[in-house]
């Protein structure tokens, strides 16, 4: 099965987005190692690091303490999600002025299908240049872009020459481009699949491409079919112009392991309020409340409860989460390191929401 219609896909990835926004808003931070994340003395992790910080080996998800050890002169900044969201909206508006087919992956990343575009530009590379220039001129940030005939290629390409990069893979170069990639770069290949591929002696996508579909399906089930296609640079996934959010959640890693149930309840209330705010911003309500608990030994459990009706209400979310905490976890006995609250089974965009009576004290417990 081969689609004859040739698509032109751009993947745009903002460079060190959160850190760059901080450097944009606070000129004194420019040129310095900026780490957005938690307190370097606490147990928070790095949410983003400026390129200056990355030179010290500081990476996302690294504990802030570790980051501070690697670069004593690094400036630690608390994340300002509101502001990042605002900038992200600005960038999204630029994308949407060019094509209606924009699929944001997160605040700092999006796929664009520019096969048809308002610039009436046939060369996708020129559209990418246009976008990068507008982001620089209108927002003041740099972005890296990858251009290719599908999402897989565009995404891998955008990562090749960061920051401020632009890599264009025309259709005729796709096969040779993909063949030399390590299998880990293929979409959907995580450490486990990579390990199994390695055990089969398959290290590059080209090695996988040489195997038959049947062979791959026998070993990997349905994923084998996808692997086969991806290893040949074939990716039919369309660009969805609105990515349906499936859930909204919030979690926190404590400064020290917590055993006090009172303290956990308090944190739960905060997390629930945060999730409620996020749902509010989305304009959606959800029915399933999930509590995630990571004990001090890193054992992680999740427990869910489905409510009768979708909710956006912080107190309702907190009550359900509290019930899960009390009945389905070892809170109070085993020290807890991390706790998260998530609301899923979101109602449809146009589903009307039953509003709540404005009780004040319907607070949890």
């Amino acid at each position: 099965m081969w689609r004859h219609r040739l698509r032109k896909i751009i993947h745009v990835d903002m460079d060190a987005f959160f850190a760059s926004v901080e450097q944009l808003d606070q000129p004194e931070l420019r040129g310095r190692a900026v780490v957005v994340g938690g307190d370097p003395k606490g147990r928070g992790v790095v949410a983003a690091a400026s390129y200056e910080a990355r030179r010290f080996g500081i990476r996302s998800a690294m504990p802030c303490g570790e980051a501070a050890r690697r670069c004593a002169s690094a400036v630690f900044v608390r994340p300002r999600m509101e502001r990042y969201r605002e900038v992200s909206q600005q960038i999204r508006a630029i994308f949407e002025s060019v094509t209606t087919l924009v699929e944001p992956l997160s605040l700092d990343e999006a796929y664009l299908d520019v096969t048809q575009n308002s610039l009436e530009e046939a060369l996708a590379g020129r559209v990418a240049i246009h976008l990068k220039r507008r982001i620089r001129d209108e927002v003041g940030l740099t972005a890296s872009a990858g251009v290719g005939p599908n999402k897989l290629i565009a995404k891998i390409a955008s990562d090749l020459e960061k920051p401020d990069g632009l890599v264009i893979i025309p259709p005729e170069r796709v096969l040779s481009f993909v063949s030399s990639l390590p299998v880990e770069r293929l979409w959907g290949v995580g450490p486990a699949t990579a390990k199994r591929l390695h055990e089969m002696g398959l290290r590059q996508a080209g090695d996988v491409a040489e195997r038959s579909v049947e062979d791959l399906v026998n070993r990997f089930g349905n994923q084998g079919r996808t692997l086969h296609a991806l290893s040949r640079g074939i990716d039919e996934r369309p660009v969805h112009n609105h990515r349906e959010p499936k859930s909204r959640g919030s979690e926190t890693t404590f400064e020290g392991d917590v055993t006090s149930e009172a303290r956990l309840s308090l944190e739960l209330g905060r997390l629930a309020e945060d999730v409620s705010r996020r749902l509010g911003r989305l304009g959606r309500a959800g029915r399933t409340v999930t509590l995630k608990v990571r004990y001090s030994d890193f054992t992680t459990i999740t427990r869910s409860r489905t409510l009768r009706a979708p909710t956006q209400d912080g107190a309702t979310i907190a009550r359900a989460a509290q019930e899960l905490l009390t009945t389905a976890t070892e809170a109070g006995e085993r020290p807890i390191r991390l706790m998260g609250v998530n609301v899923s089974s979101l109602d449809q965009d146009d589903t009307p929401i039953q509003l709540q009576l404005p009780f004040k004290e319907m607070a949890p417990y």
Binding site: Q354, L355, L357, K360, M362
Partner: protein
């Protein structure tokens, strides 16, 4: 071992067994909670049933032929009694704890269990009893029972809030409130209460108790006796007592969600409104039950638009002079309120599509119903 044997009048027995049907567990036939304990008392017979939230104790006239205890499935006993047509019924406990029921030419043997397995019922001590006019308590319950929350994570809303406060001339002001967080019903009335001591009393009556209460209210009596005790509230009529567990929690401050004086008041004919809503409800989504209420000068329209079913619109005349406004509602919430009111005209007060709407009636001044809109 002594075996109970008695004769009882069928109709009286049936009417008491009916009141017990809500208390006995109907899901399981072996569960002890699906059984009723039958024992002789000083003036006849005593019947006890419980589901732990509510205890039913009923005194009945009966001719005890032989003392003893019996424990039998409450639903089978009721069903059998209902089917009989003889005026008198003869009951006798057999060696196996089974019970033989004879009436006229009918004869049954009902499975029973050892009466010692029946849970011990501890009666609350120090009950303060009042006599409340039947019509008053019936009105209070009918106007509040429908909006009790079924959400078990909100324990304090799983019942009707009931309070008595002293009023002038030794009378008492009775208030009942219920809410499920989306809507709220509050009814208040001042009446002569028998034996009232002028003290304030309050309780959250578990919703199961509220349902059982309604069975008592089918009796044609002048007063229902209401008793307050620590942890319990009791209802008594004609020898039948329901002891209902109180929900020992604080009831939310309901006054703050009842808007004081809204901007616009709409007077509508209740029956017309019900008819229009019912017509439009035919095409509403069963998932959300939403309809839109459009208000414009002199008119109120209900509309529904559903991609799966189609559209509908129905209009009625109302007094409204404000700006045109459209509010979304769960139509069930509107009907619930309109159905418990009795007056010809009702008054709706609303500020906007996001704030509580209040429904009242001039003929029933103590009743206020608050309904939150649905965001469209």
């Amino acid at each position: 071992m002594s075996t109970l044997e008695l004769e009882i009048e069928r109709n009286a027995f049936l009417s008491t067994l009916y009141k017990a049907q809500g208390v006995v567990d109907k899901k399981s036939t072996v569960n002890v909670l699906s059984h009723l304990l039958i024992e002789p008392s000083s003036d006849g017979l005593k019947l006890t049933g419980t589901d732990y939230d509510v205890v039913l104790e009923a005194a009945l006239d009966a001719r005890i032929l032989h003392g003893g205890l019996a424990c039998v499935n409450g639903k089978s006993l009721f069903d059998v009694m209902k089917s009989l047509d003889a005026p008198t019924v003869h009951l006798k406990v057999l060696d196996t704890h089974w019970i033989e029921v004879k009436a006229g030419r009918s004869k049954f043997k009902l499975a029973g269990i050892n009466p010692t397995d029946f849970p011990e019922i501890r009666s609350p001590d120090e009950v303060v009893w009042f006599g409340i006019p039947h019509g008053t308590i019936k009105d209070l319950i009918e106007k509040t029972a429908f909006s009790v929350s079924g959400d078990e994570t909100r324990m304090n809303l799983n019942g009707v809030f009931f309070k008595l406060d002293p009023s002038e001339e030794g009378r008492a002001t009775l208030t009942m409130v219920s809410t499920d967080g989306h809507r709220l019903s509050k009814v208040e009335t001042t009446v002569e209460v028998g034996g009232y001591d002028g003290q304030p009393y309050q309780a959250i009556i578990h919703k199961k108790g509220v349902q059982e209460m309604r069975r008592l209210l089918e009796d044609d009596v002048e007063h229902i006796e209401v008793g307050f005790a620590r942890g319990y509230i009791l209802f008594r009529s004609r020898g039948t007592t329901f002891t209902v567990r109180q929900i020992e929690d604080t009831y939310p401050d309901y006054e703050r969600v009842i808007p004081p004086d809204p901007d616009s008041r709409i007077v509508a004919n209740r029956a017309e409104m019900i008819a229009a809503i019912r017509r439009i409800a035919v095409l509403t989504s069963s998932k959300t039950s939403i309809l839109k209420m459009e208000l414009a000068d002199g008119g109120m329209a209900f509309t529904t638009s559903n991609p799966d079913y189609g559209e509908g619109r129905d209009e009625i005349d109302v007094t409204y002079g404000g700006e045109p406004i459209t509010i979304g509602f769960n139509y069930v919430y509107l009907l619930d309120v309109l159905n418990v009111l009795r007056s010809e005209m009702v008054t709706l007060s609303c500020n906007d599509a996001f704030s509580p709407t209040v429904i009242t009636s001039d003929d029933e001044p103590g009743a206020r119903f608050v309904v939150m809109p649905m965001r469209i």
